[in-house]
C-alpha cells in the first residue's frame, strides 16, 4: 500500500514537472511573442545600434526639419517651439505606434524594425529599410531624428527632428 502510494506520488510529481515545464515554455513563447510584436528583427537577434522602445515614442512631439547639417541646432530649437502645435504619436494596438507614412494624411500603425546591420527603422510591417520606412539616426529619449528611406521623400522633407514636448531643457 505504501509502496503503491509512493509509486503514485512519484508519478504525479513527474506529471507536474512536465506540466510546469510546458507552462514555462508556453509563457516564454508568449513573452517572446510580445517582444517581437513591436520590434521585428531580421534574422537572428541583432543588437540595434540605436535602442528604441515603442512606448518611448508615444506622446507629443515638436516636429521640424532641415536639409543642411549646419541648420540642425536651430531646427532643434524650432522643434521645441513647435510644441505649441505638437505632432502626436499614439500607442498602436499591435505593439507599434501610430504615426504617418510619407504624404499620408491619415496615420497608421508602424513598427520598430532592426536590420541585420543593426540599423533601426520605423515603418509598416515588412523588411527593415522599405521605401516607406524612416531610418532612426539618433534617439536619446527626448530627441529623435529620422531620415526617410525613399530618396524622393528624403530630399523633400530633409531630416525630421522630433523633440519631446515637456522634456526638461
Amino acid at each position: 500500500m505504501r509502496i503503491l502510494t509512493n509509486s503514485i506520488s512519484e508519478g504525479e510529481g513527474l506529471r507536474m514537472r512536465v506540466l510546469a515545464a510546458l507552462a514555462a515554455g508556453l509563457l516564454s513563447l508568449s513573452l517572446a511573442g510580445c517582444n517581437t510584436s513591436s520590434v521585428s528583427r531580421s534574422g537572428p537577434s541583432v543588437a540595434p545600434l540605436i535602442a528604441v522602445a515603442p512606448n518611448q515614442l508615444v506622446g507629443n512631439w515638436g516636429l521640424a526639419s532641415f536639409q543642411n547639417a549646419a541648420d540642425r541646432e536651430r531646427t532643434v530649437a524650432q522643434a521645441k517651439v513647435a510644441c505649441g502645435n505638437p505632432y502626436q504619436v499614439g500607442a498602436g494596438s499591435q505593439g507599434g505606434v501610430i504615426m504617418h507614412l510619407p504624404d499620408q494624411s491619415s496615420p497608421t500603425e508602424v513598427f520598430l524594425k532592426v536590420a541585420s546591420d543593426g540599423q533601426t527603422y520605423l515603418g509598416p510591417r515588412g523588411a527593415p529599410g522599405m521605401r516607406q520606412d524612416r531610418l532612426i539616426t539618433s534617439f536619446d529619449g527626448n530627441l529623435l531624428t529620422t531620415d526617410w528611406v525613399d530618396p524622393g521623400i528624403r530630399s523633400r522633407y530633409g531630416t525630421m527632428v522630433l523633440v519631446r514636448c515637456g522634456a526638461a531643457a
Binding site: A64, S65, F66, Q67, D71, S155
Partner: protein, 197 residues
C-alpha cells in the same frame, strides 16, 4: 520706417474684375507643395513673365520696386521711363493689399512655417522647415517692413502670373536671386492694387 504706411488691405475682395485678363479666369487652385523641387523645364516661364527691360513711366527714384498686383508684374525702376520687369504671383482674393514699405531684411534660403490650416490637413508636415531646395519660400526673401509680407522665391513656378498667395509676392528662384542681388536693404517698395471699374 516712419514713412511706412500700409493702405487698404484686402482690396481684391471688393474690386470688380475688369481690365487685366489675369482675373478670375486665370485663378489657379493650388496648395503649397513643401519639399517639391521643380525641374528646369518647369522653371522656364512664358515669355511675358521672364525678366526684361520695359518702358515704364514713373516718378519713383531708380532702384524702387513697384508691384502691380493686377498685372502680375514687379518693376525695378531704372530711370523715369525704364524698368526691369519680372513676372510674379500675388495674393489671392481677400489677401491683396497696397501700400508703401521698405525692404527691412534680406535672407538667402529663408525658413518656412506652414500655416496652421495646412498642418491640420497634413499633420505629418514639419512645423518648421529650414531653408533649402524644395522650401516653398524658395531661394531668397526680401522682408517688407515689419509686416508678414515678403517678396520671395517659390518651388511652384506654375503659380507665376496667378493670384495664389496670402499676400506675398513670389518669383521663380532664378528671378528672385537676380532681384535680390540688385536691391539693398532699405529699398522702397510700392505696391499698387489698381481699382477697377
Amino acid at each position: 520706417m516712419k514713412i511706412v504706411r500700409l493702405a487698404a488691405i484686402a482690396l481684391a475682395a471688393t474690386t470688380i474684375g475688369l481690365g487685366v485678363a489675369s482675373g478670375a479666369e486665370k485663378e489657379l487652385q493650388i496648395q503649397d507643395q513643401p519639399g517639391y523641387i521643380p525641374t528646369p523645364e518647369e522653371e522656364r516661364l512664358p515669355a511675358e513673365y521672364r525678366p526684361q527691360p520695359v518702358y515704364f513711366r514713373s516718378n519713383e527714384p531708380p532702384g524702387t520696386i513697384v508691384v502691380h498686383s493686377a498685372e502680375r508684374f514687379l518693376y525695378l525702376v531704372q530711370d523715369n521711363s525704364h524698368a526691369i520687369r519680372y513676372g510674379v504671383g500675388v495674393g489671392r482674393d481677400g489677401f491683396q493689399w497696397q501700400g508703401l514699405l521698405k525692404v527691412t531684411r534680406k535672407q538667402e534660403w529663408p525658413d518656412w512655417r506652414p500655416p496652421a490650416e495646412m498642418i491640420q490637413r497634413q499633420p505629418y508636415l514639419p512645423r518648421f522647415m529650414a531653408g533649402g531646395p524644395g522650401n516653398p519660400l524658395g531661394a531668397r526673401a526680401l522682408y517688407l517692413g515689419d509686416t508678414v509680407y515678403r517678396i520671395h522665391g517659390t518651388n511652384q513656378p506654375q503659380t507665376i502670373g496667378h493670384a495664389v498667395s496670402s499676400g506675398c509676392f513670389r518669383l521663380v528662384n532664378r528671378d528672385v536671386i537676380d532681384l535680390f542681388n540688385r536691391v539693398p536693404v532699405g529699398t522702397k517698395v510700392v505696391v499698387r492694387q489698381q481699382a477697377k471699374l
